[in-house]
Structure formats: structure tokens, C-alpha cells
């Protein structure tokens, strides 16, 4: 830079860096603590000896987690739901966004307005519940997978991508050569949409993996519960009794439970966190594309 920084500008920089570092540490510290706590000796953990690094590290908490059959079952269910949901929602989004992106599609604005309206106004949980009930979807996987499989936000992002990144002339020339609408979508548009497909897969996948509420409403059979609901059961349901009623459990059990909580959090978040470094740029890209519409 040609112009030298003045003294006040340097102070500005330094203050800025310090504040940002503090903020970053506030975000980072609880995460580090959880990981350390999950590997620590449970007695030291309960005594408050763990502050940053694991104390007397061992794998007891993890062993306790993996002994639990409910957790394995939850893992299996969630994996199955997520894969099914991904297949349905990706198909729905990619296919629906296509006609909405085409200039020659009559009435696309009307349809778009009708879809966007649902973002701001909905019938509410009770009428939705009754609809699901009347469709006999209670206690089936469809109640989880179908209602949210086409999110308006994701639809808008995908449509914006189609409009901005795939030349309309390319689609036109395919049409002139006798390609059908579906053929154009499959052979021209989708092969050019790999980045947006990745973004959508990640968005939908994480949403399903982390969701618990529709399962709580619609799944009455606990053998079908996804991981998040199992977690809620273990981590949150007996929270109050755990503290007020220590006669219910032996001290060892309470100790083990303390460590298990942290290990469980790590185990449940691991798949998303492992993917995170690879998909981060896709996530951010999705937000950027979404921002253009505004």
C-alpha cells in the first residue's frame, strides 16, 4: 500500500484483532471442552478438574455409549431417513426448479408467489398434524420425509443457479434439435449443475440429520426413533430427576452418565463435523447464491 498507516489506524487494527480473537475463543472453547471432557476420567470431570485438555484420558465414556443398543438403533434409523429424504428432496427440488427457471414457462410467477407465500404463512402444527393423520402417515417414515421435502428457500437458490449459470441458448438449441423438456433437464441442465446439487445435498442432509421435532410428533413407536430423539431421551428427559433425586442412581452411575453426555454429543455430531471441512465451501456458496435474490 502506497500510503503509510497512521498511528490511529494501527491502534484500530490491533484492537480489531484482539476483539476478534476473543470472540473466536468464546466460540471455540465450549467445543474444545466437550471433546476433552468426553475423553477425561469421569471422576476428575465431576470434580471440575477438566478445563482445557483431557485429564487422565480414557475411553470409558465412549465404551458406555457404544454399549447402548438404543443409540445404534437411532443411528441406523437416522441414516436410513437421511438417505431416503435426500433422494426424494433432491429429485423434487432439481426437477421443480427447472420449469420455474425457464422464461417460456407460462404462469411460473404465479406458482412462485404461491410457493413463497407458504414461507410466511402456514396452517400451523395442528392442521398439519390432522392432514398427516388423515393420510394415514402417522408412525411411518413418510411423515418425516414428505412434508419438508421441497423447501422454498432451496427451490429459490436452485432456480437462481439455473437462471444465472446455464445459458438459455444452450437449452434452446437442444430443444431445436428435438430434445424434450425432461431430456433437456437430464442431458443439458443437470450435468452443468454439479455445484448446486452438492449444496442442496448438504443442506437437506444436515437438516434431516439434525431434526427431531417431526419425529416426536409423528413417530409413536420408539423403535423407529431417529438418533436425535434417542439423544433427547437420554440427555434431556431425566435432567431434573438426575439433580434432585440422587437416590435413584448410584454415585458411579451418575459419574458415568456425566462423561457419557459429552461422549454422546461427540458421537452424534461426528458425521456432520467430519463432512464439514469438505463441504464448507459449498455451504457458503449456497448462502451467496441465495443472497443474490435479495
Amino acid at each position: 500500500m502506497a500510503i503509510r498507516e497512521t498511528r490511529s489506524d494501527r491502534v484500530f487494527s490491533v484492537v480489531n484483532i484482539i476483539l476478534l480473537t476473543i470472540l473466536m475463543l468464546i466460540v471455540l472453547y465450549p467445543l474444545v471442552f466437550v471433546i476433552s471432557a468426553s475423553f477425561s476420567n469421569t471422576a476428575s470431570l465431576a470434580a471440575g478438574e477438566v478445563t482445557l485438555l483431557p485429564v487422565r484420558p480414557n475411553l470409558n465414556s465412549y465404551k458406555a455409549v457404544f454399549r447402548d443398543n438404543k443409540i445404534w438403533m437411532g443411528y441406523r434409523n437416522t441414516t436410513f431417513y437421511t438417505i431416503l429424504y435426500l433422494a426424494i428432496s433432491l429429485t423434487a427440488t432439481l426437477v421443480t426448479a427447472y420449469p420455474l427457471s425457464r422464461r417460456d414457462c407460462k404462469g411460473r410467477n404465479v406458482i412462485m408467489v404461491l410457493y413463497t407465500f407458504t414461507m410466511f404463512f402456514s396452517g400451523g402444527i395442528i392442521p398439519t398434524y390432522l392432514v398427516i393423520k388423515n393420510l394415514h402417515m402417522i408412525n411411518t417414515v413418510w411423515a418425516l420425509v414428505l412434508p419438508g421435502c421441497l423447501s422454498v428457500t432451496n427451490l429459490i437458490i436452485t432456480r437462481t443457479y439455473y437462471v444465472n449459470s446455464i445459458p438459455y441458448e444452450l437449452q434452446e438449441s437442444a430443444m431445436i434439435d428435438g430434445s424434450s423438456n425432461l431430456g433437456t433437464l437430464l442431458r443439458i441442465v443437470l450435468p452443468l449443475s454439479k455445484p448446486i446439487i452438492a449444496v442442496m445435498a448438504v443442506y437437506y442432509g444436515v437438516a434431516m440429520w439434525n431434526s427431531y421435532f417431526s419425529a416426536l410428533m409423528y413417530l409413536t413407536d420408539s423403535a423407529k426413533w431417529p438418533l436425535q430423539l434417542v439423544l433427547r431421551d437420554i440427555l434431556l428427559s431425566n435432567m431434573i430427576t438426575e439433580v434432585t433425586d440422587s437416590t435413584l442412581y448410584t454415585p458411579e452411575q451418575i459419574l458415568l452418565y456425566e462423561g457419557m453426555k459429552y461422549a454422546l454429543v461427540v458421537v452424534a455430531s461426528l458425521p456432520v463435523m467430519c463432512l464439514y471441512p469438505f463441504v464448507q465451501r459449498f455451504f457458503v456458496k449456497g448462502v451467496m447464491i441465495g443472497a443474490i435474490k435479495g
Binding site: 500510503i3 497512521t6 490511529s8 489506524d9 484500530f12 487494527s13 480489531n16 476478534l20 470472540l23 473466536m24 466460540v27 471455540l28 465450549p30 467445543l31 466437550v34 470431570l45 471440575g48 426437477v95 421443480t96 420449469p99 406458482i111 410457493y115 407458504t118 410466511f120 404463512f121 402456514s122 396452517g123 400451523g124 402444527i125 395442528i126 392442521p127 398434524y129 390432522l130 414428505l146 412434508p147 421435502c149 423438456n181 433437464l185 444436515v206 439434525n210 431434526s211 427431531y212 421435532f213 439423544l231 440427555l235 434431556l236 435432567m239 431434573i240 439433580v243 456425566e258 453426555k261 454429543v265 455430531s269 463435523m273 464439514y276 464448507q280 455451504f283 457458503v284 448462502v287 435479495g294
Partner: protein
Amino acid sequence: MLLIPSIVLYITFNYAPMYGVQIAFRNYSSKLGIVGSKWVGLKHFERFFRSYYASRLIFNTLGIGVYSLLAGFPIPIILAIMMNELRSLRYKKFIQTVTYIPHFLSTVVLVSLINAFMNPKTGLLNMFLIRLGQPSIYFMVEPQYFKSIYVWSGIWQNMGWDSIIYVAALAGIDPTFYEAGRVDGASRWQMLTHITIPCILPTATIMLILRCGHVMGVGFEKIFLMQNDLNMATSDVISTYVYRSGLLNAEYSFSAAVGLFNSVVNCVLLVVVNWITGRLGGTQIF
């Protein structure tokens, strides 16, 4: 046409419930069906507003909504601006990566972490209090802490993620503005207040309008998990009440009425804020 499956989906899962919302004005019974049930007009709404809970629910819903808006709206903007002012690109990238992580934790995990940290015996926060010679506090059952815990844990989780859109807006500012400013001898603070902030104002306005549309639609999933019998006085909001009375006590019509009231207030808020920002010469979304 390719649109047909999606239209069917929306009609079934979005517009059918809107049609079904008329049960709010009827005494719904599953035998008679939606149209067959008796029309009772505004009876359920009256019952709600007369009930002991109404004012508490509205106050809590609005309170949490406004609190999250006031605290949660400016912080991502400030974070984005601070990151923008960093000279080291690598450090900026690192901070971004770290602050995005909590966004991917699920609600259940987040609430479990809150509980663990706030635990009176083994929680991190109380360990610090004890070390400082203070008595430990069981934060989760004390009503006066609920709103703050809710709002600030939300900020912890989402400030990085919410800042992305502003980082994008900041990256789009024409660099010649800054060059001109530098030539004219502006300090970095002056450039911040005279160039950076005016340039991201339109983005901020749109985000503000969208957030106002959600003031009454507070994060039900998280509040529901954080609730317990002891903090109910400040944690009970309209949507959790609807869930309890509707699905657990099967008072379908009554809760549909309460839910409808919430949705309508939300829509009105969105339109009003949009109108106000339009009148102030700012950006509108419609």
C-alpha cells in the same frame, strides 16, 4: 409437466393445512370431519384471550422474539465488518471456519450442552462461580435467566453463519471507494462509517425485514427442549402451548385458533415493517 409433483406436494402439505385452519372456528371432531363439525365462530379465540395464560404467552413470545432480534441482528453485522477489516486473509479464513461450526450442531445437542454447562454441581459455569467464591446457581430452573440463555446461546450458535451474507455484501463493495477515501486522507474508522456501513445497509434492511417476520415465530424446537416445569413462567410461548394443548390434550380446535392468531400477527408484522422501511426510503422485499 414437470411441475405437477411439486404442486401436489404443496397442495397436500401446505395448502391443505391452511384449508384445515377453519377448524379454529369450529368444534372439530374427527368423526364429523372438517366441514361437518359445528361452526362456533370466534369462541376459541375468546376462550384464549380470557384465559389466565394469554397475556403470559404473548408477553413471553414477543419478549423472546424482540430480545433475539435486538441482540442477534447487529452482532453478525459487526462480526462481518471486523473480519473484513482484517489484513491477514488466512486468519480471517480461520475465524470464519471456527465460527461456522456451531451452526451444524443439532438443537438437541445444543440444549444438552447448555444443560451440561449450567449444571449446578458439575457444570462449567458454576465451577467458575464457585472458584470465584460465589454460590452456584441452577440457571435452567430460574425463570429470570431463561430468555438470556436462549438468546445468547442462539447468538453463539449462529453469529458466524449469519455473518456470511454480510461478508458477501462487503466483498462486493467497489474498491475504488476505499482508494478515493485513502487519497482524501480518511482514517480507517472514517472509511468504516462513511463507506462500509452505507454500502451494506440495503442488505441489512432486507435481513431485518425477514427477521421481523419471525419475531413471533420464535425457535419452537429449542424452547421446547429447554423448558421444564420450573422455568415455565418465562419459557412458555405460544407455539409450545399450542403443541401441549393440541397434541397432548387433543384440543384440536382451540390450539388451531391459538396457532392461527400467532401466524396472523407474524404476517401483519412482516407487512408493517416492510411498509415502514419502504416509507423511510429504504429497501423493500415486496
